[in-house]
Symmetry: C2
Subunit: 384 residues, 2 copies
Amino acid sequence: MRRVAVIGVGVTKFGLHDRTSAELFADAAGDALSDAGISPRAVQALYYGNVVGSETEHQLHTGPQAASVLGIPSVPTTRFETACASSHAAFRHAVMEIAAGVSDVILVGGAERVLNVSTAESTEYFAYASDAVWEQPLGLTFPGVFALIARAHMEKYGTTEAQMAAVAVKNHRHGALNPKAQFQKQITIDQVLRSAYVADPLKLFDCCPFSDGGAAVVLASEEVARRHRKPVWVLASAAASDWMLLGDKRDLSRVPATERAAAAAYRQAGLGPTDVDVVELHDCFTIAEIVATEGLGLFEPGAGGRAAEKGLTSLGGEVPVNPSGGLKAKGHPIGATGAAQIAEIVTQLRGEAGPRQVDGARTGLTHTLGGNTATVLVSLFGRD
Amino acid sequence: MRRVAVIGVGVTKFGLHDRTSAELFADAAGDALSDAGISPRAVQALYYGNVVGSETEHQLHTGPQAASVLGIPSVPTTRFETACASSHAAFRHAVMEIAAGVSDVILVGGAERVLNVSTAESTEYFAYASDAVWEQPLGLTFPGVFALIARAHMEKYGTTEAQMAAVAVKNHRHGALNPKAQFQKQITIDQVLRSAYVADPLKLFDCCPFSDGGAAVVLASEEVARRHRKPVWVLASAAASDWMLLGDKRDLSRVPATERAAAAAYRQAGLGPTDVDVVELHDCFTIAEIVATEGLGLFEPGAGGRAAEKGLTSLGGEVPVNPSGGLKAKGHPIGATGAAQIAEIVTQLRGEAGPRQVDGARTGLTHTLGGNTATVLVSLFGRD
């Protein structure tokens, strides 16, 4: 298989926008193409992630719409939907198209618009990623899903609400260094602990926000990438799934799909967790970050909460996690999230992350989770 | 790139079902796996097409759900959505994964459930595949889109309502030979011409029905496929797009995305239109079949209506089109349609289509269209 590199990245500011998701994507894609130094006409395919567009914008078939808005209407284009992991899934499939020798330059990205509807509506639409027959009728929405995961983790490992709060405080500290982040304001452990319960034990500041935004990355074959100033190589991209229903999972304190996808990605790259210098992972709730750091092998099962509390995952720590601010502070426009995480890791490996730069980062990892932990994608990146 | 074959196919009966789309897919997938003679555990990835599940079933994230229902929850799974072409898009991407050497056995398919909601609701949801800002507010739904296409074709080429009716009559005649078809009843030109106008010049019998159903195919690398009794080889699989908005298209009497995708597919396979023995194409409306036969190069632009009237596209004619009955008579469960077309062509090339068999068929083509003609996929198949 051919090597694949990322040669351009672009991300909108995340937060409230009075624009369609197609327009948000066009902004991010324009930045990614200009970062790559190529014309839109060099793009041979468009891989696009979008999740609840049919609900919030009454818009399906978002692939050709995104291509039209970019003025490249004739390229093959596909919409990918794996809940919150959609644009990471798009990325993985695009890597395969280049690896297979079908194309040399692919634009990958995603966008989402949800702040044009009420929080009650978006909460309901997001819940469509859980099972409609067995789970939604119970009133199970995502804060509830992750509250159950948090309870299981607390019960099994003694993880505390203060440890979860440490994740929120750290990601807000990082987000304050990111001009594209939705929240650029530091918070304290006390503020997190005193915020209102959303789904016990998760409080408001344990939860990422609803966000609008777009993100894009330009992928290229080795031959094209060699002409770029700073190609970042895709060392691995792997996906795994798990039972759709929470009730079918044996142990809610772990995410088997993360463990499987990580094992596959490490195997593809010939690397292990200790080789990773910087991580962008799926912290839709603070507990999700703790469980992900364990599933990725950065810490032993049960040690993620203490690691966060000790600052091991902070900028300057042993393995900085979510230097962008993560979903928690940077925001979570769900169709854009996977591509935005990749954009951050590429920026880090280029050494261009400014005040949030992880010194000397050579190997990076992105991790994105969809639904009730039923979809996970993990990719690894390296620089020359 | 490695060669890829289809080694198993399965399709549910199309029509009204009191089952979820995941259950319908499980039925089709079970049949496809048993046709392939492999266990579900041999499947390394699941590629899944579904379109309006979030509206009609409140279900997103349908990939892992389909995998769970099949009892193979850990395989990587992705939902693809390119409007009515969704499972054909899933198929094309799966071909690339095997060609790239990532996997050897992939299950591809799709399902849709729409008959649990009213016709007004499904008409609205289908319209989400057109542009939400510029087209939907005009009240433009798909019968209207294809009525405009029909008017343009009639104006430019003198195509008649009787010629369109000939497509409906032919596809119902074929559908009467297909035990899985939603309509297994012949109709007459007169019945079509006297049916009520839905969107002038299209009448009720010019339109395909709303349908529930599922379809699946098993793809394999050459090494695996060689162990199968009758592998059908994927000679090409290509996609193209076009402007999202009808108003941006120069000539509604043609579908540039069909012409581009067909040209790419013929080039990949080293074949031309005269090499094709049997075709399953996207006849969501009778005019869509006429325009598609022209775009695929089976007839000159403008000659499709006369060809249908002369019986050139009937079983026993020059190039049989839609021996399954097509979307018109077999039905159109949108997420399943692309995979169902492939299943029919595979059945034809194996010589196992019974009373609707195209004698001596060696090369087959499938064509699937999404939205306002903004997405088209074309694949070519051959037997040993």
